[in-house]
Amino acid sequence: MTTNDLSTETLRAMWRDMLRIRAFEQGALYQSTLGKIHGALHSYEGQESCAVGVCAALKPGDYVASTHRGHGHTLAIGATMDRMMAELFGREDGYCRGKGGSLHIADVAAGMLGANGIVGAGYAIAAGAALMQKVKGSDQVALVFFGEGAVTRGTFHEVMNMAALWKLPLVMVCENNEYAQYMHWSQTMVFESIAPLAKGYGTPGITLDGNDIRAVFAAADAAVRRARAGEGPSLIELRTQRFQGHSSGDPQVYRSKEAIADLRRTRDPITRLEAELKAAGALDDADAIRREVEAEVAAAVAFADASPYPATEEVSHHVYA
C-alpha cells in the first residue's frame, strides 16, 4: 500500500479518531479542574496523528506498549471512552478498576499492555510480546511508543540490539515532541535525529513529519509488514508536538504562550487533515461529527460519574492471582 492508497473513507475515519482523542483529552482536563480526577494527566493533545496513523497499521491480536502519555494510544487501539474516563475518575468500571489511573491505563484484551510510569520500560515489554509471537509462530506483531526523552535510557539500546539479534516482530515508534518533561531535547542529547541510531543496530530507521498522517500510516504499515514477514524490527521517528504541558500541573516556564499558540496554529494535525478533506469536498459534515464526538465524551463522563468507587476490600485484590 502506498500513501496515496488511503481512501477518503479511511481518512475521514482517521480524522474522526484524532478528534476523539482531542475531545477526550480536553474533556479529561476539564473534569480534572472540577476535582473529579485524582492525580495528574499527561495530555496527548497535538500528537493525535501519531497514535491514529500508527495504530491504523495494526490488526486485532497485535500488542502495543505505551508511555506515561498513554490515552491517545489506548483510544487508537480501540478502547472505549467510557471505561477510560471511569479509570481516570478512579471508578470500579474503569479498565483497571481505578487502581491504575491515567499513568497505567490499559486495555489488555485489546492488546494495549499499558501506559507506564517508568520512562523506557515499554521497549522490553513490547519486545517480550514480540518474542512470544515468534515462539508461537504467529504473524502478530508488537509495537512500542516512546518519547525522544526515553532514547537515552539504556533499555532503548539493549532492546534495539536484542530485537535485531533475534529478528523480533517489533516496531519501535519514537514520538519526538522535543520535550522530556520540561527539558528541550537539545539540552540533554547530542543526536540531531533519533532514527539514524537504528543503523548501528542493522535496523531500518526513518524520520518523518508526525503531522502527516498519510506518511505516518505508510511508515507504520511498512514496518508492521516487515515485522509480520519475520524480517525483524524497525524504528520510526515521528516529529510531533504537544500542545499542553508535560502534565496537568506543568506551568510551562520553558516555552512562551506565543510559542504554544504558534504550534496550535501551524502544527495541528487535525486541522491539517480537515483542510485537506474539506478542500476535496469530503468533510461537509464536520460539525455533525464534532457534535457526535462531544456527545461521546459527555456520555463517558456521565458513565464515569455513575460508576461506584471500588469497595474498600479491593485494596488487597489483584496483588496475587
Binding site: 483497571c96 491504575g100 490499559a106 517508568i118 515489554i125 518474542l131 533499555t155 536484542m162 489483584h318 496483588v319
Partner: protein, 333 residues
C-alpha cells in the same frame, strides 16, 4: 499411603529437572539468560537442554534489565518466562523490571494482566569473589507486594518450589544458593510440587527454635547438633519461601519453645531475619523467655581476602552462642 519413590539428586540437577519437565509440558514457556546454551550457564543449570528446547531458549546479550523486561512482556502476552540472572547481585540492574513492572502489573491493570515469570538467580557466599558477587538480597524482593520469593535449602525443596513457581500465575524471584548447587539429597520422583508459604520443620525440638533460610538451614542444623551435646533440644525451621512467610509454623514453634534465634546470611540490617524476629516479638511476646536473637552478616560489603572474608559472614559458632545466651544459666554458660 506408601512413601513416594525418591532419587538422590544434586540441588543443581533438581532445578534442571524441574525446568526440563515444565519446558516439555508447556509449549509456550521460554528461558532467557546469559550463557545458557554453550555449557548450560555459569552454574551449568541448563546443561544439555538446548538440544531439545533450543528454539525456546534465548541466549541473551549482557542486558540484564531487558532480559527481565523481555521476560515480563513474553509472560504478559500469554507465555511463561524464566529469566536467569547469572548472579543475584546483578538483579540490582533489573530492579525496575522486577519491582515496578512484573510485581505490579496485575494490580495496576486491575487484574487484566498477569506475569507468570520466574527470575532465577544464584545468591550468597562463594570463595573470594567479593562484594559484587556474594550478596543475599532476598529482603529487597520480600519487601515488594506482588512478588513471591523462594529460598530453597535442599534439592527436594528446589525442585518442588520451582515446579510450583512454573505452574503459578505470579512472578517469583527464585534464589538459589551457589554453595548448595553441588549438595545431594532425596527428591521425590514424579510430579513433585511444594506450596509457597509453608515452612519445613527440618528437625523437631522443644527448648529453642532456630529459624534459618537458604544455606544457613544447614548451619542451623549443625548448631542444633552442638546444642544437643549440651542437652538442649533445638527445633530447626526452614521457611522455604520468604514471601509469603509461614507465620503459623514459626509462631507455633516459638510458643512451644519460648526461645528463638533467627538466622540468615544477608546483612542483618532490614533483613528477612529482622522481619521474622519482629513478627515473633509482636505475636509471641508473652511466651518468650528472652529477646528474639538474630544472626546474620555484619554491616560491611564482602571483602575478598580470606581472613577478612570470614568475618563478613555469620557462622555456626554465633548461632550456638546466641542460642546458649537464651538458655537458663545451668545449660547456657
Amino acid at each position: 499411603m506408601s512413601m513416594p519413590e525418591t532419587r538422590e539428586l544434586t540441588f543443581r540437577d533438581a532445578i534442571r529437572e524441574a525446568l526440563i519437565e515444565e519446558m516439555a509440558a508447556q509449549p509456550e514457556m521460554v528461558i532467557i539468560g546469559e550463557d545458557i546454551t554453550p555449557g548450560g550457564g555459569t552454574f551449568g543449570i541448563h546443561a544439555g537442554m538446548a538440544e531439545t528446547f533450543g528454539a525456546r531458549m534465548f541466549e541473551a546479550p549482557i542486558s540484564e534489565a531487558s532480559i527481565v523486561g523481555v521476560a515480563v512482556g513474553a509472560a504478559m502476552a500469554g507465555g511463561r518466562a524464566v529469566a536467569e540472572i547469572m548472579y543475584s547481585d546483578f538483579l540490582t540492574v533489573c530492579m525496575d523490571e522486577i519491582v515496578n513492572q512484573a510485581a505490579k502489573m496485575r494490580y495496576m491493570t486491575g487484574g487484566q494482566a498477569e506475569v507468570p515469570l520466574v527470575v532465577r538467580s544464584p545468591i550468597g557466599m562463594t570463595r573470594g569473589i567479593a562484594a559484587q558477587h556474594s550478596q543475599s538480597l532476598e529482603a529487597w524482593f520480600a519487601h515488594i507486594p506482588g512478588l513471591r520469593v523462594a529460598m530453597p535449602a535442599s534439592p527436594a525443596c528446589a525442585k518442588g518450589l520451582l515446579k510450583t513457581a512454573l505452574r503459578g500465575r505470579d512472578p517469583v524471584v527464585f534464589l538459589e544458593h551457589k554453595m548448595l548447587y553441588g549438595t545431594k539429597g532425596p527428591v521425590p520422583a514424579g510430579d513433585h510440587l511444594l506450596p509457597y508459604g509453608q515452612a519445613r520443620i527440618v528437625r523437631a525440638g522443644d527448648d529453642i527454635t532456630l529459624i534459618a533460610t537458604g544455606l544457613t538451614v544447614g548451619w542451623a542444623c549443625d548448631a542444633a547438633d552442638r546444642l544437643s551435646e549440651r542437652g538442649i533440644s533445638a527445633e530447626v525451621i526452614d521457611p522455604r519461601t520468604v514471601s509469603p512467610i509461614d507465620w503459623e509454623t514459626i509462631l507455633d514453634s516459638v510458643r512451644k519453645t519460648s526461645r528463638a534465634v533467627v538466622i540468615n546470611e544477608a546483612t542483618l540490617t532490614c533483613s528477612v531475619a529482622s522481619e521474622i524476629a519482629a513478627g515473633i516479638g509482636e505475636s509471641c511476646f508473652a511466651y518468650l523467655d528472652g529477646p528474639v536473637r538474630r544472626v546474620g552478616s555484619p554491616f560491611v560489603p564482602k571483602p575478598s581476602t580470606p581472613g577478612l572474608e570470614k568475618l563478613a559472614y555469620p557462622a555456626v559458632d554465633e548461632i550456638v552462642n546466641q542460642a546458649l545466651s537464651l538458655m537458663p544459666r545451668r545449660q547456657g554458660r
